[in-house]
Symmetry: C2
Subunit: 392 residues, 2 copies
């Protein structure tokens, strides 16, 4: 499948940040200014690139994105901020843009300074290698410990959209960062773009929990350059629904790729909570179950251990009636009205469901219309090996 | 060391709930009514014994405690409530008490019915075996997967106090429960007893986090029977301070024993947060660090990975100034003013500190007077093995 979107070019080069010699610098550009929206980490200790990119995005426009992997530029103080700004200036000068038109990200080890000479050379080379089909290389250049590049696209007669992403959580020490860049040739009203991105992120990237950690560099950025020639989309435009769906689909596809490529992951599970008083309550319950170490190790062990799910639900701090609680695994009902369902067929079906690569866990609270869905991963020896045996 | 407190007797018997034939029923009695206070699980799906014990404690008096291990009597509906009440009635009738004078706990597998005939026989035998020195057997009879019984005592010229406890978190599937029973021969005003227990639990048991889970049966109960002949202690009594200290000491000693005996635990760490805007903010930061999977696996790997601590601090949702953040491991300063301390001596000392059995991790926020301290454990292969390989 050829990944391309009219008006956008991309490149990925190796500039020597990663000792392995792998690709470690990506560049994405649009041939015209693009409407831009982003969701950044909520971590209170954000990396320098996040601080700089947030500022540059105030005008809701961007025309280029420069990303390095290997070193994260986090906990680097004033020098780190200078370095992030310098990456934007260099990129802008090579492409004939203003620095504020450039978004910047860095991912990798915390607390080290970027090798600015190598990065400058890398940006210069990437600018020369930019091409409409450079997405696979760009997708590889933003990886740290992911095992494979992650790309997703949607094409229709009217527009194209593609996204690239790198690993979420469960990654090598100091490198837990989720980055995603999505581009489309649609013209989209900047405010509408921000709203639709917010919705898409809330139901996809933000519903993935691998280890409950929040990286200092998480970024999801979308650029809409209007090369499709449409009138800018707003909430009431004819194409709004298709655009919304495309952004949710690309985000969802990238999220599932992130989950499956979490290091040490052997199995993923979707936690579906129904019947809470509100969606917010349902979300709290779903996240408590999804982040429960006992649930995650049971997933690894393929153990249909409903008792652990019950415990997590009860600990979520959300009011519910124990006498109405229901638990289903893979559609098989194990707990109903707060009591064990005495059916060996049910248990057998739940056991089989737990052995699959994707598991569905249902929780029914029976107290209201609130619903939520969260995607989680198992926790096994691989996670411990990767996160304990590596030593800084 | 002889464990005994005037006026109290204890027993532990094997009544056949545990297939292994180990001790599985404990009985504790006072020769006179005792003032009582308890802290129960905040899990919204409490076990039947918690529901019954809460009700019995309304009068703030108790004279006996009956505990079985092996089956938890959780998710057992109306029959489970009947069974818990029946255990109290049987105990009361053998000892000449009212059912409401009896506290009851059960710990073990969720969702199974108690074998009431065996339990009845066990209670009868335990009542016959009650003795002033039965504490070690009682401490063994409440265990599930703990590797050793946990007892702690404080004696002074004026009074005696002892406590027994069983495992917190990191335990076999469906058996994650923390139980502690503390008795003293002091007379203590019931309201004061409740307040002092609340303080002691807040700074000891509640500051231990092993896997962030909240069991459906957690209970800390204290009985004060007045056999010491003192005038009932109130907040302004001469002996109030010694009593407060004794209860904190016994609770603290039991808490540390619980942490070190968490299954799969090889190392424990105290997270000390200073300089938050409030104690509450400090506590949120300490818990986020203590529950971070990345921090816990770094502990297991003896890796002085300050980057993971920074990430957890930033993700706690507490406002702070990144430019003031400091991190210390074993007293060695690694981050100061938000930036790496470039001292190889500091890193070396932190590395050595991480290899000890007990690690001190300091976090300085520099924004206020708030402090908190939380005890946590490492996360390694043992935890995964125990929690994934066992299959229900």
């Amino acid at each position: 499948m050829a990944y391309r979107v009219p008006g956008f070019r991309a490149a990925g080069v190796a500039c020597g940040i990663k000792p392995s010699g792998e690709l470690d610098l990506a560049l994405i550009t649009s041939d015209r200014p693009a409407d831009a929206a982003a969701v950044f980490t909520r971590n209170r200790f954000p990396g320098a690139p996040v601080i700089v990119s947030r500022r540059h995005l105030r005008g809701r426009r961007a025309q280029a994105v420069v990303v390095n992997s290997g070193i994260s530029n986090v906990a680097t103080g004033a020098q780190g901020l200078q370095n992030a700004r310098s990456m934007c200036r260099q990129t802008a000068s090579l492409l004939g843009l203003r620095a504020s038109d450039v978004q910047v990200s860095s991912t990798g080890v915390i607390g080290e300074m970027l090798p600015m000479d190598r990065i400058a050379a890398g940006i210069a080379r990437a600018a020369k290698e930019l091409s409409a089909t450079g997405w696979s290389r760009a997708a590889r250049a933003i990886l740290t410990t992911d095992t494979k590049p992650k790309l997703a696209q949607v094409t229709s007669k009217r527009f194209a959209m593609l996204g690239i992403a790198k690993g979420a959580g469960m990654v090598m020490p100091n490198m837990a960062t989720m980055l995603a860049y999505i581009v489309t040739d649609l013209a989209v009203d900047a405010e509408f773009l921000r709203d639709v991105l917010g919705e898409a992120v809330a139901s996809t990237f933000n519903c993935l929990t691998i280890d409950g950690e929040t990286s200092t560099s998480d970024t999801v950025l979308v650029l809409a350059n209007g090369a499709a020639g449409n009138r800018p989309l707003g909430p009431r435009s004819a194409g709004a629904r298709d655009f919304r769906k495309a952004l949710a689909d690309v985000s969802g596809a990238l999220t599932e790729k992130l989950a499956l490529d979490g290091e040490g992951v052997t199995r993923i599970a979707r936690i579906e909570v129904r019947g809470a008083r509100s969606d917010r309550s349902a979300d709290a319950v779903a996240r408590k179950v999804a982040n429960s170490l006992l649930v995650k190790t049971a997933l690894f062990g393929a153990d249909p251990n409903w008792g652990r799910i019950v415990q997590a639900v009860g600990a979520a701090g959300v009011p519910f009636s124990p006498g109405r609680l229901g638990i289903q695994i893979g559609g098989a009902e194990l707990l109903r009205g707060g009591q064990l369902v005495a059916s060996s067929d049910s248990r057998r079906r739940a056991s089989l469901a737990m052995r699959r690569k994707r598991v569905e866990i249902g929780v029914s609270l029976g107290t209201g219309p609130g619903r939520a869905s969260v995607l989680t991963t198992d926790l096994g020896y691989g996670y411990v090996r990767i996160n304990a045996e590596y030593t800084t």
